[in-house]
Symmetry: C2
Subunit: 367 residues, 2 copies
């Protein structure tokens, strides 16, 4: 099962790796590389954080006796990343320096404006994280099967690029090349804008009565889940990528104004049409999100009633396995106050009908 | 398993039930009541829809020989519901009349303004639906374990209230009493506002490049899932509940303006604090949503790496069952381009540690 256990083969990553910033991402990279036998040293503004990450097996504190590392990985909060990159390039002039901050353009521009030689710097961003941070949440497999954006330019030496790619591959991620501009626009749209909107929506629940919130269903849960993310980190991310985020928010603001205007007087000629157009644009937008495994294939969803007892869902999935039906996705839905739930199972359209009749035959209630 | 099969006991619902509007909700109510042996007649503006619903077993077309029904259930689109209620009250003066529209105040006000005697009318709203509508999607268990809001006033006869409650209970739902005002404010907040916001967010994806959308993760998927709902139906719902929806959208608009203002110049004194406050308000808002089964208990989430082969997830859940670990919730996460995924499993905090060590012992990779 594991993709990161030492398998006796030499690691793709040759030489020592020094990680600056031993929180969730830094410690996870350390854990992952250590499991491949790479020698990892750690550094953090907080000695406690270094000690904790070392205790978890993410590496050891760097000592004066250590040689210059082959690679420095900077995993500090985004608002100090440019300074830390600059210091690392001076301190380790022969090392390749990368960072894993979730914004790429602002640090790059800051360093360029300062006239820093960025030949040895290759920015990167693994698309991975958890709602809670810290070394204590670190895991070697955090990056498995995630995209890992790598930003090179014409001056990036092939060896430097390939060292950073090796780290991504060793940790099970999929390297993707983008410019800092492309990266920031992409995450501004697919990550930062949804975060801001989800937070704004969730904030509306603050003044609501318990009774009102009691009617909450899966729609509200899904749209507000990421609103529980860390405000301190997200202030930095949104601020650092403000041009892309503000552009998205302003476009949304125009649509929002139009929607409010149309809703204030839906009898006005064209108002209902305008509302329908906005909703239809949402339909088409969501249809563009690639499905599982990057495919845009559409699945048919079966809904199966399950009792809320241990083993019920396992029994259902075992049954599906026995029937030779591959489940493409699964979502559980619960109802307040009830002891039963639904499993929504996505399958290929061509097997849906057979799946339903076979499950019914075996006593399941499909809806 | 099934909660709606005829069990030989007499139904709580005595007398004939006539359903007007044989789409998803009407046909599902018919199917559910029929399975309890209740005599159900159907009517729809479209003869094809009636025939289809009848073919599915939701009831039979009403004939002139039928006696006056004990209950009329109106399941038409929201924008015609007031007219249909009015006609039903005239046509069947001794019947109790209910409707299942997702807005309750506007039809009630319309009928009151017309001076209609509403003694026999009890509005209701089952909190159930599917992303696709139509009799073809109908299911007897659509309402199982869902809240079913019932709107009574001082003049509602006890017998009328109790007949509508009987239908809700017979279909497995949980009746909840609210005034039309309370209902509309509640669904305005927990259902209509998230729908509007999700649609506005998803519309932002229309102009994005494939490359940008390729970085989409679970956050974007969750926040935009409901944006695939039917525009025609939602134009009616949002318009009919406009005062509550506009109130929510305007409050969100103020926060959005403040966020955009702060992001345009995050160096301005107080700007970062303002952004953090908005994000923190989102944290507190989302924390108010009740968890599974209406409880606000928090669970610990284990993340387990699973190969994308049929039977892998079933094997994991069977293992959990064998270990006596009750899964409180489950979410699958996939990565673009990869053949592995993660199962995020919520368990009670006190069993989390044991679950992790037991799973590891059995060869699973927990993260």
């Amino acid at each position: 099962m594991s993709h990161t256990q030492t398998n006796g083969l030499a690691s793709r990553v040759q030489g020592q790796v020094h990680i600056i910033g031993a929180g969730l991402l830094g410690a996870s990279i350390g854990l992952g590389l250590r499991s491949h036998g790479v020698e990892v040293t750690l550094e953090d503004a907080s000695p406690t954080t270094v000690a904790l990450a070392a205790d978890y097996g993410a590496g050891r504190p760097r000592s004066d006796a250590d040689p210059e590392p082959a690679l420095v990985v900077i995993a500090t909060p985004p608002d100090v990343v440019a300074d830390v990159i600059e210091r690392a390039l001076t301190r380790f002039p022969d090392a390749v320096v990368t960072d894993v901050a979730s914004i790429k353009l602002a640090p790059f521009q800051t360093l360029t404006e300062r006239g820093i030689d960025l030949t040895n710097y290759v920015g990167s961003h693994p698309m991975a994280g958890r709602e809670r941070g810290g070394a204590i949440m670190a895991r070697a497999d955090l990056f498995a099967a995630r995209p890992w954006v790598i930003c090179r330019d014409e001056e990036t030496p092939a060896a430097a690029l390939s060292l950073v790619e090796s780290v991504a591959l060793e940790l099970g991620a999929t390297p993707l090349e983008m410019t800092p501009q492309q990266h920031d626009r992409a995450v501004g749209l697919v990550s930062h804008l949804p975060q801001a909107v989800s937070s704004l929506l969730a904030a509306r629940l603050l003044d609501a009565s318990e009774q009102h919130i009691g009617l909450a269903g899966q729609g509200l849960r899904d749209t507000t889940r990421i609103a529980s993310s860390d405000p301190e980190l997200w202030v930095q991310i949104l601020s650092a990528n403000r041009s892309s985020v503000v552009e998205g928010l302003e476009a949304l603001q125009l649509d929002l104004e139009a929607l409010i205007g149309a809703l204030r007087d839906p009898e006005k000629p064209g108002a209902r049409r305008h509302i329908a157009d906005l909703l239809a644009a949402g339909n088409r937008g969501v249809a563009r999100i690639p499905g599982k495994h990057g495919s845009s294939e559409r699945f048919t969803t079966l809904t199966v009633l399950i009792d809320d007892r241990p083993g019920q869902l396992a029994a259902l999935l075992t049954e599906l396995g026995d029937l030779g039906i591959n489940m493409e996705d699964l979502r559980l839905e619960h109802s307040p106050g009830a002891q039963i739930g639904f499993a929504e199972i996505a399958v290929l359209p061509e097997v849906a009908e057979r799946a339903i009749s076979d499950l019914k035959e075996r006593g399941w209630t499909t809806l």
